[in-house]
């Protein structure tokens, strides 16, 4: 491959260097300092073992809490209530003036369990307390599924948007009342029984 004299010429004359005493003392001190800390090692390791699960748990709790604050978070009910509301508002003969209700928007950001923010399924079934809170005098507070109370509350809400029966009662309703809703209704007639305000709304109109 290559001639040996050529390789011998590459070889440098290696000197034997003597360390300075100060430098040698520094080397010894650093090596001795590195030898001592054998005890605190496991202590710091144990501290980390405790810290990591606590941090992870705190992170998960924080994420769960934040998602509970958001309207589209974990507290979001099943998509069934959305069609229920549109069914109610787009009944034949009713107006569609309550599509953008300003009073309902602040309540949408309330967490589940806060006053005025009820879970979706109960709201979809038609709850009376929201109608009373908003000043909608729709007769006595009925139980869940009472068609009379539900219809009156909704009729009053339509005529006075700031006191809408939706305010506080339907925190998760989408702000839309499509006129072509009946064609889009995907559920059977029994699913939202009692939600339709049509009979009561017709009575009010006749009174006017």
């Amino acid at each position: 491959m290559t001639d040996r004299p050529f390789r011998d010429e590459l070889r440098a004359v290696l000197p034997t260097l003597e360390p300075d005493d100060v430098f040698l003392a520094q080397l010894s001190a650093r090596a001795a300092a590195g030898a001592r800390p054998t005890g605190p090692g496991p202590v710091t390791g144990g501290w980390r073992v405790v810290l990591v699960p606590v941090a992870v748990a705190a992170l998960l709790i924080g994420v769960a809490w934040l998602s509970g604050l958001r309207p589209g978070g974990l507290a979001e009910p099943s998509p069934a209530p959305a069609p229920a509301d549109s069914t109610r508002t787009s009944a034949p003969g009713t107006t569609t003036t309550t599509t953008t209700d300003p009073a309902s928007s602040p309540l949408r950001s309330l967490p589940a369990g806060a006053p005025g923010a009820e879970p979706g399924p109960r709201v979809a079934a038609g709850s009376a307390p929201p109608a009373h809170q908003t000043g909608a005098s729709g007769g006595p507070a009925q139980g869940v599924g009472d068609p009379g109370a539900q219809g009156q509350a909704h009729a009053h809400g339509q005529t006075s948007p700031p006191h809408s029966a939706h305010a506080g009662g339907y925190p998760h309703d989408p702000p839309k009342h499509s006129p072509k809703h009946p064609a889009q209704h995907p559920h059977g007639p029994d699913e939202h029984a009692g939600d339709h305000p049509a009979p009561q709304a017709h009575q009010d109109r006749r009174r006017r």
Binding site: T2, R7, L14, L17, F23, L27, A31, A32, G34
Partner: protein, 185 residues
């Protein structure tokens, strides 16, 4: 490095000054020579500076090393290589402006010990023309006389890679052998 410590390394780990003196005598000279064969990115940092920093780092990290005093050389050279890389990157970030030579003439010039063990200039010139890996391998194997295993440990590559780079580097140098005549004067 899975082999057990020999007596010298074990004593060095306890901070024995005489053990460190022996290690320094064995390896400090060729460490400086090897560092001088590598291109210095920062002209303000000499091979001796980098060697001193290497020794201090080795004293701090000696407890992570397990092996004999001969294997200590490869580990030490590996530290020097990494520190050299740090210096190279630092010098790229902190570029300095050239200074007028007349300004430098005002400062006294102190002659260092480098000429006593300086590598021949043609060797430095020939090594500088090699690719980095071949230059490092030839520098370790031929210039300072490390064995294959220590060279592999120093450069962080396998023994096979050391042999391949060594062979290629020597072949390149042999091809340029006539060029060394002007530098050998």
């Amino acid at each position: 490095m899975t082999s057990s410590d020999d007596q010298l390394v074990a004593r060095a780990k306890t901070g024995d000054a005489e053990a460190w003196r022996a290690l320094y005598r064995d390896h400090a000279g060729r460490l400086v020579v090897w560092l001088s064969t590598r291109p210095q990115a920062d002209a303000a940092i000499a091979a001796e500076d980098l060697a001193a920093e290497t020794w201090l780092t080795a004293a701090e990290k000696i407890h992570a090393f397990h092996g004999t005093s001969s294997e200590f050389a490869g580990w030490l050279f590996g530290i020097a290589r990494k520190l050299g890389g740090n210096v190279h990157r630092r010098s790229q970030r902190r570029r300095t402006d050239p200074v007028d030579l007349q300004t430098l003439d005002r400062h006294p010039v102190v002659v260092g010990p480098e000429p006593a063990y300086a590598v021949k200039e043609w060797v430095l010139h020939a090594l500088a023309s090699l690719p980095p890996r071949e230059r490092d391998v030839v520098g370790c194997r031929e210039v300072v006389g490390l064995d294959v295993e220590s060279t592999a440990a120093a450069l962080g590559i396998s023994s096979v890679a050391v042999r391949v780079a060594h062979h290629r580097g020597l072949r390149r140098l042999a091809e340029r052998l006539p060029e060394r005549v002007p530098f050998d004067v």
